[in-house]
Amino acid sequence: MKKTLINRRLFPLIIWITIIASIIAAPSLLPVFRLNLLGRYLSLAIVALGIDLIWGFTGLLSLGQGIFFALGGYCAAMFLQLNSSANLPNGIPEFFGLYGIQSLPFFWEPFKSPLFTFVGIWLIPSLVAALLGFLVFRNRIKGVYFSILTQAALLVFFNFFNGQQKLINGTNGLKTDVTELFGQMVGSDSMQRMFFWITALLVVFAWFFARWIVYDRFGNILKGIRDDESRVRFTGYNTTIFKTIVFAIAGGLAGISGALYTVQSGIVSPQFMTVPFSIEMVIWVAVGGRGTLLGAILGAVMINYAKSLVSEALPASWMFIQGGLFILVVTVLPEGVLGWLQSDGPRNLLSRLGVSRPLSTYPGLEEKSHDEVRL
């Protein structure tokens, strides 16, 4: 038993030390371009954490997280555009001129205030998520129907943002890299370095937050909903409320993630709301290990890094690899890489190779009683 104990306790610790060490070392080791990429992928880890909360722990597969991701991004971009357009004609962002708009649309107004923006980045997506979630969960629509509806909602938002040139510059999106913040260009090296630090910090915060959620009684109910929702409802819990809350939390995390991604990639556009991108987010969690928070972070960073490396070398092959990953994870590794490592995966592999050791007791009875939550 000792060996698995080490596996379960020490293994995440080792990973954490590696992650923190590489985050601290990265700014001095990597060129700015790579650092910027790493920062982007770290920000994607936050949306992956949200997906892990709703899918890995609550069993709701949302294919529409791109909505909340993009909403957060738009909030940040609108503030940055307004912040640096004071000297322009009419005091409004440049692109409005192309469509002959003289005055700011009403919903842009509040984004002049930095405070509103900082709150809005997570509050607006989570409110939208709460509304959407409540409407769906109230009718006990779940499983695949929930997935299909979120996908349809994604398409609704995509079409809306894509079609409204005069309100939010439509398909061109909003650029942020030439805007100014604190008197500096957002796209400049020093700002990008700062965004990297902020992102790294927020990933750790988000992890603690998510862990706090799933570690408590609240988390137990979420897992109960995942495993048998009817039973939880018969026990007297209103599952609709719980599902709405966790969906809203995931939406808020997606919003933060989208804002960080936007300032680091320099643009927010309806492309963030395409169907493939939102499904991609799910596969990060699936590969990393659903139901393991660390797995979501690792999955998001690793897969995206692999994506950029493969696409640079062999552009055509990434789609094959990605498609293969989807199939492979679902059929062979349903728990994901980290889940496989933490469960009996390695031991099963060893015994299959013929180097197994006999079990001393019934598997898993001892640790599970006092350590329900896996890292």
């Binding site: 299909i148 079609g163 055509a316």
Partner: protein
């Protein structure tokens, strides 16, 4: 006035029939088997590409005189191509995932990515060769007499037929790539299917022009719907399919081979996707992403109509089609010109194709608030789990 409404109705039915033919296969696969197939759009794409290949084959000198009938041939070709790929998909991946729809959803999305890239990076001639080999490899065991297969040397026959089908596939790929040079190169660019001369132009009736392409699609849809209904309600295998849908264990006890039923159902659903691909190829250019734009709409049709209900699917697709046309083309304004101005500006705001989709989807979500399981919910009481 009547003319306007008639025209609007026709456009709505035209949009709806494309939706219906695309959703019909999905209604079978999703409604009867409960399998979420996100690669359905890509099966449509394969159907569209096989229309393109058929068309080019019919341009060869030997078949030139029959060029005008290539659409009819391509319907069958597309059905077979999509059905073969669908059966392969079912036997290799989906079979392992019955009972876990979310996993199926992710795996089939992976398949759809692979199919898209496959079309981009493999020359169409070789893709056709692979499909021909698969088709022969799948059909030969069905045709060969049973006593031959139970013979001592059945392994020899199996290997022989496998080798033969691969050979035929290779030969046909080679022939296609040499005789039609356009098929010999891989390209990610969109291709165009040109309608035969009798399908161009329009039919003038009651002062309205009906485009013949649209009429043909409506006819294809009607035929497909009727034959599917007939198959499910009247034929022996259709009865078996319905039996397995209702109670899998019991059907198995009564001697129905559920494996065969699964393959058949999935094959027919996929084949219908291929037929839908023919319809789609007649409407616009064909590219690797052509199916993706339909898939969400198809799922909405099935959900709105009530899962497992063909009549619901039909009504839902025509309802969505008519609404899309009414809103998207701003017809409400021309039907009712002196609308009060705030309403008129709202109607005007939604009078584009993409905004019409926004409104229609929003309306569907609102509708599902009142009827969570669609227009025609499945009857009976069951514990949801």
């Amino acid at each position: 006035m009547v003319q306007l409404i008639l025209e609007s109705l026709f456009n709505g039915i035209a949009i709806g029939s494309v939706l219906l033919i695309a959703a019909l296969g999905l209604a079978i696969v999703f409604g009867l088997m409960g399998v979420i197939n996100l690669a359905h759009g890509e099966l449509m794409m394969l159907g569209a590409y096989s229309t393109y290949v058929t068309q080019l084959v019919f341009k060869l000198p030997a078949l030139k005189p029959f060029y005008n009938s290539y659409v009819i041939v391509s319907l069958m070709v597309a059905f077979l191509v999509a059905a073969v790929v669908g059966i392969l998909l079912e036997r290799s991946i989906i079979r392992r995932l019955y009972g876990s729809p979310l996993e199926t959803l992710l795996a089939t999305w992976g398949v759809s990515l692979i199919l898209q890239q496959f079309v981009r990076s493999v020359p169409l001639a070789y893709a056709s060769g692979i499909i021909i080999a698969l088709l022969i490899g799948l059909i030969v065991p069905l045709i060969v007499p049973h006593d031959l297969l139970s013979h001592r040397r059945n392994r020899l026959i199996k290997v022989g037929s496998l080798g033969g089908s691969v050979l035929v596939g290779l030969l046909s790929a080679n022939w296609l790539s040499t005789s039609i040079s356009r098929l010999g190169r891989a390209s990610a660019r969109n291709v165009d299917v040109t309608a035969p001369s009798w399908m161009r132009g329009g039919l003038d009736l009651w002062g309205i022009t009906f485009p013949v392409t649209r009429l043909v699609i409506i006819v294809i849809t009607i035929i497909a719907v009727i034959s599917v209904t007939w198959f499910l309600k009247q034929s022996v295998w259709g009865m078996r399919i319905r039996a397995v849908t209702q109670n899998r264990e019991m059907s198995e006890c009564l001697g129905i081979s559920t494996k065969k039923v699964d393959v058949l159902t999935f094959g027919i659903g996929s084949g219908l996707a291929g037929v839908a691909g023919v319809a789609v190829s007649l409407l616009g250019s064909v590219g690797p992403n052509v199916g993706g734009s339909y898939i969400v709409g198809c799922f909405m049709v099935v959900v709105l109509g009530g899962v497992g209900n063909l009549l619901g699917t039909i009504i839902a697709s025509f309802a969505i089609g008519i609404m899309t046309d009414l809103i998207g083309a701003g017809r409400l304004l021309s039907i009712w010109p002196d609308m009060p101005s705030p309403l008129a500006s709202t109607v005007d705001f939604f009078a584009t194709t993409s905004m019409a989709r926004v409104l229609v989807f929003a309306l569907i979500v609102v509708f599902l608030q009142f009827r969570p399981s669609g227009l025609f919910p499945q009857k009976g009481r069951m514990v949801e789990s």
